[in-house]
């Protein structure tokens, strides 16, 4: 049976709201609309109660000891900024060195860049061909000036899952704080701030079937107690870490989404891995297709592949009824191919030919089969139009040609 078009396969960018999440949120718009900070009446108490239930659920999802360790934010961009800048500002007398990786999200990288302008020193660790950060590299980069290490749980482009537990063992032993941008991995791959010795963690509701514009920062309260300087001044909400009236319906939705991820995440991950492998099996029947990222340590719903001799944006245009994303230059205003693929040492021509398929909760087998066949047909059609494919078929080594870079 043909699936309904268009098909959404871009679950790393955002996810649809789960109906159950919407149902949980609805009463908090018109009926229970109070300000959670209103301490003097029942409207405020009810809102606060609902927020605290959500806080518990988010804490449970990531293995936090106490819900007091969760501060709600406007999303993971804010969480990343708050974690990195807030820690840097608080501990600046202790040290001025931060370690991160070259494949972090821009919210982390650009926060670090800003700190560099303020005089901090930042080490951007490289990754291996499969996008993996080495815990040994982390250990080697730590100096007596290092205050923070920030490494993501799973990469948003290539899906590689980082060895956070091993990195946590290193940072704990050396007395350095560990921040983890867990946005893409939480609820999909194992993540436990206690077991992995994570001191700060960023998460975002809209990547886990919750609403957009809501996130959280986990801030450890004991062993060690993490301190940070708030980056926004105001009423001192969220234990002084993040001022601003709480987005109660959003937070309630986030809590429900976290609860669903806790109870259903593991089964969903298995289902998605099966679907992902089904798509991979079909696509790898095509000649000259390579996998970007790690073959096993990867997000269940992530498949990132390079279709050699076919440009990524042309591919996306050919499958316009399927929403995917590309590592090609053309999709960004900067015309630079993906910095993640580049950091992994992927040849630029492969980067231009890379497509990211993101599968999620509502992806069906019919959709996977439809996309697998459609992409196969289009790769063949675009190769018929590709001078590079013709040259490769004629046995010409494309690397032997002196291309004029423009």
């Amino acid at each position: 049976m043909a699936p309904t078009l268009p098909i959404y396969m871009d679950y790393h960018a955002t996810t649809p709201l789960d109906r159950r999440v919407l149902d949980a949120m609805l009463p908090y718009f018109c009926e229970t609309f109070g300000n959670a900070a209103s301490r003097s009446h029942v409207f405020g108490w009810r809102a606060e109660e609902a927020v605290e239930v959500a806080r518990e659920r988010v804490a449970r999802l990531i293995g936090a000891d106490s819900s007091k360790e969760i501060a709600f934010t406007s999303g993971a961009t804010e969480s990343d900024n708050l974690a990195i800048k807030g820690v840097a500002e608080f501990y600046k007398d202790k040290g001025d060195h931060i370690i991160t990786s070259a494949i972090e999200h821009k919210a982390v990288l650009d926060s670090c860049k800003r700190l560099e302008k303020q005089g901090f020193k930042v080490t951007y660790l490289g990754v291996d061909k499969q996008g993996m950060v080495s815990p040994d590299d982390v250990a080697r980069a730590i100096t007596d000036k290092t205050i923070l290490v920030s490494i993501m749980l799973a990469n948003n482009e290539v899906g590689t899952v980082q060895p956070i537990a091993e990195i946590g063992a290193v940072t704990r032993k050396r007395g350095v704080l560990l921040h983890c941008d867990a946005v893409q991995g939480v609820g999909k791959v194992p993540f436990d701030v206690a077991k992995m010795h994570v001191d700060l963690a960023s998460i975002s509701a809209h990547k886990m079937y919750g609403p957009k514009g809501v996130g959280a920062l986990y801030v450890r309260r004991s062993k060690p107690r993490v301190r940070l300087v708030a980056q926004m001044d105001g009423g001192g909400h969220e234990r002084g870490m993040r001022s601003g009236t709480l987005n109660v319906p959003g937070i309630v939705g986030f809590g429900r989404a976290a609860e669903l991820a806790t109870s259903e995440g593991e089964a969903e991950a298995m289902r998605l891995t099966t679907l992902r492998e089904r798509l991979a099996k079909k696509l790898f029947q095509i000649e000259a297709v390579t996998l970007n990222g790690h073959p096993t340590a990867r997000l269940p719903g992530n498949l990132n592949v390079a279709f050699s001799y076919v440009e990524g944006e042309a591919m996306m245009m050919a499958i316009r009824d399927v929403a995917v994303s590309s590592g090609s230059a053309c999709t960004s205003a900067s015309l630079e191919p993906s910095y993640v693929l580049r950091a992994m040492g992927v040849d630029e021509e492969f980067a231009h030919s890379s497509i990211r398929f993101g599968l999620g909760r509502f992806t069906t087998e019919e959709e996977v089969d439809y996309v697998g066949q459609l992409v196969t047909d289009k790769v063949h059609a675009l190769r018929e139009m590709s001078p590079l494919w013709e040259m490769a078929q004629a046995g010409i080594d494309l690397k032997s040609i002196e291309w004029a870079a423009h």
């Binding site: 001799y309 076919v310 440009e311 990524g312 944006e313 042309a314 245009m317 090609s328 230059a329 053309c330 999709t331 205003a333 015309l335 191919p337 040849d347 630029e348 021509e349 231009h352 018929e384 139009m385 590709s386 001078p387 590079l388 494919w389 013709e390 494309l398 291309w403 004029a404 870079a405 423009h406």
Partner: protein, 134 residues
């Protein structure tokens, strides 16, 4: 990014995809761009004894706008005299296809491909004359 209707039309029904014999005297071939930059165009023209472009073919590795630019270029080339063809400018292609600023480089590449194909053809003709003359 949203595409203009004209880009989509050329992309869905590209005109003149194919290959001419690059070793033939009356064929000029231009190969421009680089795989690492995400676009490579090969444009070929076949020129009659009267100096008229009888046929034009292209193959392009690149985004939809690059494919549309090359398709349009081949359409415009056919039936033109070589000296007329030399007057095709990237701005004309960009305007016809409604290319947004980030895609202007696709039309630049198409102009380069036209120039390069004509240069190749002229070089072959000069070599032929030299051979006949000598």
């Amino acid at each position: 990014m949203a595409y203009s209707e004209k880009v989509i039309e050329h992309y869905e029904n590209p005109k003149n995809v194919g290959t001419l014999d690059k070793d033939a005297d009356d064929v000029g071939t231009g190969l421009v761009g680089a795989p690492a930059c995400g676009d490579v165009m090969r444009l070929q023209i076949k020129v009659s004894d009267e100096g008229v472009i009888e046929d034009a073919k292209f193959k392009t590795f690149g985004c939809g706008s690059a494919i549309a630019s090359s398709s349009l270029a081949t359409e415009w080339l056919k039936g033109k005299r070589v000296d007329e063809a030399e007057t095709i400018k990237n701005s004309m292609i960009a305007e016809e296809l409604n290319l947004p600023p980030v895609k202007i480089h696709c039309s630049v590449l198409a102009e380069d491909a036209i120039k390069s194909a004509i240069a190749d053809f002229k070089q072959k003709q000069a070599a032929k004359r030299a051979l006949q003359g000598g």
